[in-house]
Symmetry: C2
Subunit: 151 residues, 2 copies
């Protein structure tokens, strides 16, 4: 599935050095995603990654911009774009994987927005557990979060 592969790409790029698309292809294959370079070129475009001196990097959106010019706390969309790596669903739960230290801000934003489908959140260092009433609602939330992540 494409979205799982995108999640894996974000994780690889965030946590390891990816110099070129063929290297990415080999790393993904070890994780069970066997695709060609052509597909990765398209994925990289979709994920808006950039390539610099240190290989590929996630788009940096820098939510906290020093000068406090926002009235409210950052939105889920902002904070997900900054820290979110991976979204998964199981039963009535959604698991959000983030960059180290990103779980708390994500959970705080979710709490603040008070989505009706969300009963509660628990955040560690790099994982947020989002609890919904039932699988249907969890899928709903997963979709919405995923859309924000793919921005």
């Amino acid at each position: 599935m494409k979205f799982e592969r995108h999640d894996a790409i974000r994780e690889l790029v965030a946590h390891s050095l990816v110099t070129n698309q063929d290297e990415l292809r080999r790393k993904l294959r070890r994780r069970g995603f066997a695709v060609t370079q052509a597909t990765l070129s398209r994925d990289i475009h979709a994920l808006r990654l950039s390539k610099g001196p240190g290989g590929y990097v996630l788009p940096s959106t820098d939510v906290g911009n020093g000068a406090a010019e926002n009235d409210g706390p950052p939105s889920v969309a902002e904070v997900l774009a900054s820290f979110g790596l991976r979204i998964r669903q199981a039963m009535n739960q959604v698991i959000v994987g983030t960059m180290m230290g990103g779980a708390q801000p994500v959970a705080a934003a979710l709490d603040f927005e008070e989505w009706p489908e969300v009963l509660g959140t628990i955040a560690g260092d790099d994982t947020v557990l989002v609890i919904c009433a039932d699988p249907r609602r969890a899928t709903e939330v997963e979709m919405r979060l995923r859309a924000m992540l793919e921005s």
Copy 2:
């Protein structure tokens, strides 16, 4: 000269959209720099530019990091790396071109460090004029600033 070309590349990348190296080559040629793509590949590496969905971009160093964790004001090196685009010298003066709004911070940092060769600075929006006692000292300052810019 290589450094002038680097300055021009920084300016082009900062102020206009540069999609690929051949486009950069054409834009540079209009400004009087006639070099091949091979040279630009090397320049881009030296300047640590990255290429993303929106063409080439300068390395973002983000001097003001919100959480105030530095004791003193930012150094000339830091602020130049963030805002500096171009360095030129004429007689006993050094002219520093910066990104819009970057001149004041650069001048402030220079003033704070009190370099012996620098008699004074004047800053507009995107240009800092640095005054030295004589051409020799101006060249000295130019060299030092340039080294910081090329980081």
